[in-house]
Symmetry: C2
């Protein structure tokens, strides 16, 4: 079972994993609430040897990036923390130092959580955001003729990724669809095209991070940049191609078919958050 | 470091873990939102050999019980799921069968989540609820002279715990404080008394589940009943004692001092959700 197949199955059960956040309508308010939850697990998303401040930053950045992808303003967060025997008070303090420094910069208030223990340190971050009613950016609005854009540069595996909150808010009025690049351009663009029932042509130079390879820019993931489509030209990001009619989810890269090879949680036995260079292709199957 | 000490430390950092849910004020609305997040981890909260439907039920019941403890109505839930290699599509289907059956009974809509992998199956459940503005039940309102009550029976380790949503809502107008019994009466009452800066006298028979021991009723946890205080007599629950002035957190049981011995995640090396009978006292230290 691949992640896409599992998501399809869960969606049939009523779980709409289509977008980066759930949208909670609040009838009496001028805003919709956005809600996202992200697991952050030792030996999957981070290692014990990583600086705890960096792990705290990255745990929260994943959730903030989901809010950015929907064009939202982050408001509150909750942290569920299951500690392993090795993670003492000093690790916890430094983990929160990193997490709260990022939270403060985006005016996100830590309001609760849960504590337990586990063999591996296991964190779940919930972020609640706000977006003007009906204005949340979705994955399903891309239409043939739209430009395809990415923010920043890809494949660089930033240790302290910066959530694109400001850009996401600016895109509310401009983008036709949006998501964040967490698993890699090839699989994330594939997902966006599936949601929008369109195909994609990539025929412009990709913004590749210094020292990164094309392979990393296409498939590595953990970029936390925004991938979006727009009808009019956008200057704050790089256009990399165009949405076209075609078999939903199909991507053409400079004339060749591009297979979605990004990070699929159900095909990979390898730990995440550990990769400086792209993994060999066989580990992605 | 004990859980109480860690919670005290996190609270100094701004994380208000004092109540069962975070309260999100929504200025334009007649209701406050309640938000709770609970980890549910293989070999900590459940075992691979447990029926998957039961695990799904219990994962969600923890979150619904937190909403009940605040007097709320559950509205939405999100499920973050990290699957271990052993957990195939059939396990996932049956886990969701159990979870969604409970969700339907309490009109809670599954609206999103996250998927990843881990060595052990790791679930985080987020539940969003609603409560009339300012009416959420808290832990800090118990006052000397209030009766101390519990719903249902204690120590029975129910396999399919029933969240006390209806009772919680009825208590909005009656209880002075409330929480759910997840870690055991002795430690949970201790926590409530600390939050309210009061002491407790238990001088009435406890409602002990059939075949359960007094030890289990006091310390075992996983009851998911409501523990609350009220000024007037409540008929839907059992009065077990009275709030008194005294050193905050102190509990007297039939004249003797009762130490909080319930489940503390940072003193226990033992898996949870596995206990039919109470563990030997030394495992709780």
């Amino acid at each position: 079972m691949t992640e896409l197949e599992l998501v399809a199955s869960l969606r049939r059960r009523g779980q709409g994993i289509g977008d980066d956040c759930a949208i909670l309508p609040s009838p009496a308010s001028a805003n919709d609430l956005l809600l996202t939850t992200d697991l952050f697990i030792e030996d999957v998303h981070f290692l014990r040897k990583h600086p705890p401040e960096q792990s705290g930053h990255r745990a929260l950045a994943r959730g903030l990036s989901d809010i950015a992808a929907m064009g939202g303003d982050p408001k509150w967060c909750l942290v569920s923390l299951a500690l392993a025997p090795w993670a003492g008070p000093r690790w916890v303090e430094r983990f929160y130092d990193g997490l709260l420094a990022l939270a403060r910069r985006y005016r996100t208030k830590l309001v609760g959580g849960d504590l337990s223990h586990a063999e591996k340190v296991t964190v779940d971050i919930v972020v609640v955001g706000s977006v003007p009613k009906g204005k949340a950016l979705r994955r399903n609005g891309a239409r043939p003729g739209d430009g395809i854009y990415v923010s920043g540069a890809l494949g660089g595996f930033p240790r302290l990724p910066e959530p694109r909150i400001t850009l996401g808010k600016a895109l509310r009025a401009q983008a036709t669809s949006c998501m964040d690049l967490s698993d890699g351009l090839s699989i994330d663009l594939h997902r966006l095209c599936i949601e929008s029932q369109v195909a994609a042509v990539l025929d412009r130079p990709l913004p590749i991070a210094p020292k990164a390879t094309l392979e990393a820019a296409l498939h590595q993931g953990e970029d936390y940049e925004l991938l979006f489509t727009a009808r009019k030209r956008i200057t704050e990001a790089t256009q990399i191609g165009t949405i076209v009619e075609g078999p939903p989810g199909t991507i053409t890269l400079f004339g060749s078919n591009l297979q979605p090879k990004g990070y699929d949680h159900f095909r990979v036995g390898q730990a995440r958050g550990l990769r400086r260079a792209p993994s060999p292709p066989k580990s992605r199957k």
